[in-house]
């Protein structure tokens, strides 16, 4: 678990200053989490395990966790497209189905279990094998593993997460700013209502040691 660098952040408290259209879009994201309609139970389990691996949220109270998998399910169900697909990949729905099957297949080859039943370290090993293009399994003969992972699955998962105000709190993003705008433009200054970063990283460690 990473330490909290903006412990006082609560961007949603600013929602009274947002325009109505923006407020509706953001609050809808927080409160109206869609039902699963596209993936079957097995796929859903794999997808949720994948999302948990990409964005660990285990130390947050459940009501402060950001739901990710339901939004990917909704994209697939409603066939919301990004406007393109790679010519060496199938369409978005098939890519998700095939890739999730590929995670289980590789997990089975390496650890004799489904991806969702692996430990966190084992899941990372599976994902690193896929990222390196060395993942065992028939699926990855049909689906380019690194492209599926980096340019498709990983991108979509982080896009869902960083669209959420709780994630904005974590990184100190000021959020929507219409019609109020921003006034403090110099020296990285905060607006009076913006969250401040704690000294260091909040853990007592020096941030520069992390990498």
């Amino acid at each position: 678990m990473i330490p909290d660098r903006y412990p006082d952040a609560e961007i949603l408290a600013q929602r009274g200053h947002w325009d109505r259209a923006t407020r509706e879009v953001v609050l809808d994201r927080v409160t109206n989490i869609p039902e699963f309609r596209f993936f079957n139970d097995g796929e859903r389990r794999t997808l949720e395990a994948l999302c948990a691996c990409v964005v660990p949220q285990d130390s947050r109270p459940p009501e402060r966790c950001v739901a990710i998998a339901p939004w990917i399910d909704q994209r697939c169900h409603e066939a919301l497209l990004d406007g393109f697909r790679f010519d060496d990949m199938p369409d978005e729905r098939e890519s998700w189905r095939a890739g999730l099957a590929g995670l289980d297949e590789t997990a089975g080859e390496l650890f004799q279990h489904a991806f969702a039943d692996l430990t966190d370290d084992q899941r990372r090993t599976v994902l690193q094998a896929i990222d390196g293009g060395e993942s065992p399994g028939d699926v990855w003969g049909r689906l380019p593993p690194r492209r599926w992972w980096r340019q498709f699955a990983l991108r979509q998962i982080v896009a869902v997460y960083y669209s959420h105000p709780y994630a904005w709190n974590q990184i100190g993003f000021g959020g929507p700013a219409y019609p109020r705008g921003y006034a403090s433009l110099n020296h990285g200054a905060t607006e009076p209502w913006e969250p401040r970063e704690v000294e260091g990283d909040g853990s007592g460690e020096n941030r520069e040691d992390w990498r």
């Binding site: 923006t22 393109f84 433009l185």
Partner: protein, 554 residues
């Protein structure tokens, strides 16, 4: 019809828009309302021609349809299916062509530099690519006109290319842009702050000044940014043009004599019903972006034009270019808060021209860019495939990052192209575009040099670590203008060599792209073409095939 749409804070466009019956020919039917189509529509309407502009998307009402939110802004983009391949498959959808009145100028960052005079003579000067069939001097007055009309903010003296000044004062830069300035200053690299950017530093007509909210790429709710739907479109309507929205053009119709007679399109009504209609026209202009423009021409194949319309050269769709636009970011020990202020605010063109000491020809610009959280997370995952705690930690540094965008010239190459996919169809049963993009040696060396330069600039400004990922932007070139019917699709006035009353008026016509964001150049070309049409149409020239330009004439 009565048109009621919010264009800016406290600017409700509430006006009567003229409507033309599709069955009666108008003087011009224009496909697309972006930087090219909108300016052409406005000019032609002012010159007294009847004009219908077909727009595939809707009006984006600034109060109800635009949001201060990355994930909620997908409607601004062209999201119909395209297939992408090659050694560097381009990511399409967001970050290129728009959908809706104003086209991609709705979501562009609004950097509005001019090309340099050398860009028009790459073959002569550097023995690469091709020369343009017109000289910088011919476009210069139109550049100046567009800088006044957008308008564009920037320094009083712009030292690169042909030096010039900007009509509006420089726009204030945020801390992220200041890092580019600081790094350049410390290295002795000339740099400019506050433009050229199509965000006027001050109120313009009914458009308020910028509130520094930093969501330029998601559409400007304020109406401060110079997008076509707040600049030239309202003026076009006032002068009698009709902007017909939710109309997807799928075929340019030609008669037995080889003249264009109109455009077939699919109009989606407010209930979702789709109507197949044809707008008759005495001349047709295609201005639909470098992917959809060649797609429309190729989809307009007929017995007379079996390989696609205006394609006797075989070059429709060929010579696709995108600028190399790698993003380099540095981590600073102090706070940056890059989401504040417009991303487009500082740049240097010091490395724009060919330098014989380099191992490549042509050059690049460095520009400020400031990704919002989702875009930033994609830089980080693309670079190293980070996930888990590593990703969350890297993203916790969001407020410590400042980014520099390299904008580098990629040379035109016939092996980069847009074609129709042989089997895949869209929701209307039309063949989808297949985009093929490859990098070649000069492109790679140029990009490496630009990235290296951006890193040294960020380090000079105080970055303790730097990162980068490749990116590409600004697709152009797929219906190039040239000297003869054999070497190009359109002539120097953007008119088809094959179909005398058919024009292409968007980035597709660019023979080369320099290292300047293309919007202003596209608008300037449109304004120049409009002036030519004003003089040439009464002489009956739109009924005659174009004369050839002789290379070297200009």
């Amino acid at each position: 019809m009565r048109l009621r749409v919010n264009l800016a804070s406290n600017w409700l466009l509430d006006t009567e828009m003229r409507e033309y019956p599709p069955g009666e020919p108008v003087d011009f039917c224009i496909v697309g309302t972006g930087a090219g189509g909108a300016v052409l529509a406005q000019r032609l309407a002012r010159y007294g021609f009847s004009v219908v502009a077909l727009e595939a998307g809707p009006w984006h009402d600034s109060e109800t349809d635009m949001v201060s939110d990355e994930a909620g802004s997908g409607r601004l983009y062209w999201n119909d299916l395209r297939i992408t391949g090659g050694t560097e498959p381009l990511e399409l959808g967001a970050n290129n062509s728009g959908r809706g009145v104003g086209g991609s100028t709705v979501h562009y960052a609004a950097f509005c530099p001019r090309l340099h005079p050398s860009d028009f003579r790459a073959r002569t000067l550097d023995d690469v690519a091709t020369d343009w069939p017109l000289a910088y001097a011919e476009l210069e007055p139109y550049y100046a006109a567009m800088e006044r009309e957008y308008p564009v903010s920037g320094p009083a003296h712009w030292p690169w290319g042909k030096p010039h000044g900007y009509p509006y004062a420089p726009l204030e830069a945020g801390t992220a842009g200041q890092m580019l300035v600081k790094g350049c200053v410390r290295l002795g690299i000339p740099v400019a702050a506050g433009g050229p950017v199509g965000i006027p530093a001050g109120r313009v007509g009914k458009r308020p000044h910028c509130i520094m909210r930093g969501f330029c790429l998601l559409g400007c709710k304020v109406g401060a940014k110079s997008s076509m739907h707040v600049t030239h479109i309202p003026d076009a309507i006032e002068h009698g043009a009709e902007i017909r929205t939710d109309c997807l053009a799928y075929e340019v119709v030609v008669d037995n004599h080889g003249f264009a007679t109109g455009v077939r399109y699919l109009r989606t009504d407010s209930g979702g019903g789709v109507h197949d209609e044809t707008q008759q026209a005495r001349a047709v202009v295609v201005a639909g972006y470098a992917i959809e423009t060649p797609r429309l021409l190729l989809n307009s194949a007929s017995g007379r034009f079996p390989d696609g319309l205006a394609n006797s050269s075989g070059l429709v769709g060929r010579f696709l270019m995108a600028q190399a636009a790698p993003v380099v970011w540095g981590r600073f020990p102090f706070m940056i808060r890059q989401y504040k202020a417009p991303p487009a605010c500082a740049s240097t063109e010091e490395f724009y021209e060919t330098d014989r000491r380099n191992d490549f020809v042509r050059g690049y610009s460095l520009q400020s860019v400031s990704p919002l959280p989702i875009a930033m997370s994609h830089l980080i995952t693309d670079e190293g495939g980070l996930f888990g705690d590593e990703l969350l930690r890297a993203m916790q540094d969001y407020n410590h990052y400042a980014c520099v965008g390299v904008l580098g010239e990629i040379l035109p190459d016939e092996r980069n192209f847009v074609s129709l996919h042989p089997t895949v169809k869209d929701q209307y049963g039309l063949p989808v575009p297949h985009v093929h993009f490859n990098l070649f040696d000069n492109d790679r060396r140029l990009m490496d040099a630009g990235v290296g330069r951006a890193r040294t600039v960020l380090e000079a400004a105080g970055a303790t670590e730097t990162h980068w990922v490749p990116r590409y932007a600004h697709l152009v070139g797929t219906c190039r203008m040239g000297f003869t019917p054999e070497d190009s699709v359109v002539d120097r006035y953007l008119r088809s060599w094959d179909v005398p009353n058919l024009f292409v008026c968007d980035g597709s016509v660019l023979p080369t792209q320099g290292s300047a964001n293309p919007a202003l150049t596209i608008s300037a070309l449109a304004a120049r073409t409009a002036d030519w049409i004003r003089d040439a149409a009464p002489r009956g020239e739109l009924r005659r095939r174009p004369d050839f330009a002789v290379p070297g004439d200009c």
